[in-house]
Symmetry: none
Subunit: 416 residues, 2 copies
């Protein structure tokens, strides 16, 4: 069984609103073992909606529709479904009653335009909507099961959980399970990662492994399709183990975990305090750490030293060093990290300096060059990287580089 999702609305096709209902529905379908193929976004035009329904019914066994169930002239889903199914629209007394009550309980009469929301295709079952006026619809179209849901995300989500999901489980039986696992890595580019797991990303493998990149984080997405949850879990585990074996320490977390979540957790486990001296990243390293609940126990604080003067004044970097080597250099990064570590009496401190662009840079240190230093009791390591991209990307990725240095150092440190 493969599902298809239609989202109806001209505000979507003009691009003024981003469709979040379709991705949400896809994820919920996967949780009951139903994969999704096409998503189609359709304008508020009767002929367009009918055509989309015909195409979908010809190739999918389950169709979920959002939108077009409102009370305005632009709301055409009911009519389009009736036309596609070649049935009449009938007024449903129970639906009419619900809509009347929805308004009267708020001290208002029902506007006449809302009456059309009580219409349904002859062969459709109504799905109640306790938090809105538009009932949903459930019907057959050719060989496909069709659910039409309101476009308001909150109403759609409640109706899916209360009305659609139970019916799917009944109709579909146990159609197997689709399980996802997302594994996040930092430190290698997309091509280099794929080279190490090329057999796992080969087409036709179950579990399937896909690769995506976002802001220097390369993520592996495991998709496992099996008859039972237990099998799917076992297979996902096995594939995850292979990935971790092949990729080693560039793997930092799973699902929505960010580098800073791991850093704070490791700092808590190892009771290590942290500080940051930032130039190029302008406070982003400190901010990312502080976003993690509980960071305050281990993050001592930070300095944003964006100019040479403040690097000298606040971190004691000697003028001669700044003049001769430049603020963007390994010795300056090292000096910054060591200074802020001492100053804040932290176990570990990171420092960042670099050229974010669009101006600046030298032939040896072009725009995109960043130095990140990590100072600890054992000494200071400095890493250099040259990023491509825009100013904000360079800043963001350098901050991640700093967090990653912290992560790796804490990982290699024995637990207290």
């Amino acid at each position: 069984m493969r599902a298809e999702i239609l989202a109806i609305g001209t505000e979507l096709t003009t691009g003024q609103t981003v469709d979040t209902n379709s991705p949400w529905l896809s994820q919920r379908l996967a949780e009951v073992g139903i994969p999704t193929g096409y998503h189609t976004i359709v304008p508020d035009e009767l002929t367009d909606i009918v055509e989309a329904l015909h195409i979908a019914a010809g190739r999918a066994s389950l169709i979920l529709i959002s939108g077009g169930l409102g009370p305005t002239q632009d709301d055409l889903t009911r009519e389009a479904l009736a036309q596609a199914a070649q049935v009449s629209l009938v007024e449903d007394p129970a639906a009419l009653e619900h809509i009347r009550t929805f308004f009267s309980s708020r001290g208002r009469p029902m506007p006449e335009r809302n009456r059309q929301q009580a219409l349904r295709p002859e062969n459709a079952e109504l799905l109640p909507n306790p938090i809105g006026t538009a009932p949903g619809l459930f019907l057959h179209l050719s060989q496909a099961l069709v659910f039409a849901l309101p476009g308001v995300p909150r109403e759609l989500q409640l109706m899916f959980q209360e009305q659609v999901r139970p019916r799917l489980l009944k109709h579909v039986g146990s159609a197997g399970v689709i399980l996802y696992r997302k594994i996040n890595t930092f430190g290698l580019g997309e091509s280099a990662v794929e080279e190490k797991i090329a057999d796992l990303t080969a087409r036709g493998r179950n579990p399937e492994v896909g690769i995506t990149v976002s802001d220097a984080v390369v993520s592996l997405r495991i998709i496992a399709r099996y008859p039972t949850l237990a099998e799917a879990q076992a297979q996902v585990s096995a594939t995850e183990s292979l990935i971790r074996q092949r990729l080693g320490e560039i793997v930092f977390g799973v699902e929505d975990e960010e580098l800073e979540d791991i850093v704070v957790r490791l700092a808590q486990e190892r009771k290590a305090t942290l500080a940051a001296a930032e130039s190029i990243t302008g406070g982003l390293v400190a901010h990312r750490i502080c976003r993690v609940p509980g960071a305050s126990q281990y993050f001592r604080g930070g300095i944003v030293a964006y100019t040479e003067e403040i690097k000298h004044q606040e971190l004691g970097i000697p003028w001669e060093m700044l003049r001769e080597l430049g603020a963007v250099s390994a010795p300056v990064a090292q000096a910054m990290a060591e200074a802020v570590r001492r100053r804040f009496a932290a176990d570990l401190a990171v420092a960042t300096t670099g050229f974010a662009g669009p101006t600046g840079g030298t032939p040896q240190e072009p725009i995109g060059t960043a130095y990140v230093a990590l100072a600890s009791q054992q000494g200071t390591e400095v890493v250099r990287h040259v990023w491509s991209g825009e100013r904000t990307e360079i800043m963001s990725r350098t901050a991640k580089l700093a967090l990653n240095l912290l992560r790796l150092h804490l990982l290699r440190r024995p637990t207290s």
Copy 2:
């Protein structure tokens, strides 16, 4: 002419990633007078992509495709286009050269798998990609013009503006104009804003005005549909004037402008230097300022003082004040701002302190409470706000509150 948009990617059909490229493209097409009908999201499966291409070519005269141009086994757009157009794939020497240079300029050899990005359908023209490896494609498919663009938003957007738009204007001529204008405000909630411009947001008005909210920024979107560019521009201007008259100083910028862009611009105009002492925001105020090119000339630096100890050590906040009033209080915010202002010899300084949650807070100062202080030569003002929402939302909105205080102070200050 009606356009259709295809977005290729299993991460989209599984719902793990939300498609933002398609809405963006729809808006850009409208600006050159081309309406968009269907958007279709397609899995990384060759047969699915080919089918979607056939359907689109049968009903649209312009097709924009995003995604599937990467270097992995899942990147099938080139092959699908060749199959749909019934032509061969050929390797393009110029493309291969570009890709080789892209890697060698970063000191690395080209991974062999990136070689496939130099392939193109025989009948396709390459669209250069100066900021990535994947060239775009331009070809005919039946009666339709087809543009295939990389899925990475930054690359797609640049390629659209530089390569697609000029070709469209040439092919399409002038079909009437749709013009957008976005006006950003901070300081009032959505309902309060709408009350002031209710007549402008009425349905059927041309230009139309829509309201959206995102992270405490209420934006007005003007949409004007007129036969000529000159008319549309005049109408947009007139509506914008009305909006600015009604909303006054809560209007801070237009289009993609952020509060920090305005702050840095005003600081440059008034030659005012800035500093920040941050607790709750953890470095975000400093980081946002530093993201703006040219900030280094006016941003002296900042302190992230996340603990009471560091507030005392770095900013000289007396222990008695912290004990008696608490770190989250107006006097502490004031003392932080004044201390960092003196310390960094800045004209203006902001300080932030508050409870971001999920733990913390008191009955008088619940989670979401933030104090923001702005210290200047004239004295210090302190503002208190209680936000609802998650930890990261509270941090982000408090940072905006600080930036807005800076903006308003600089606005009211005479230009040097």
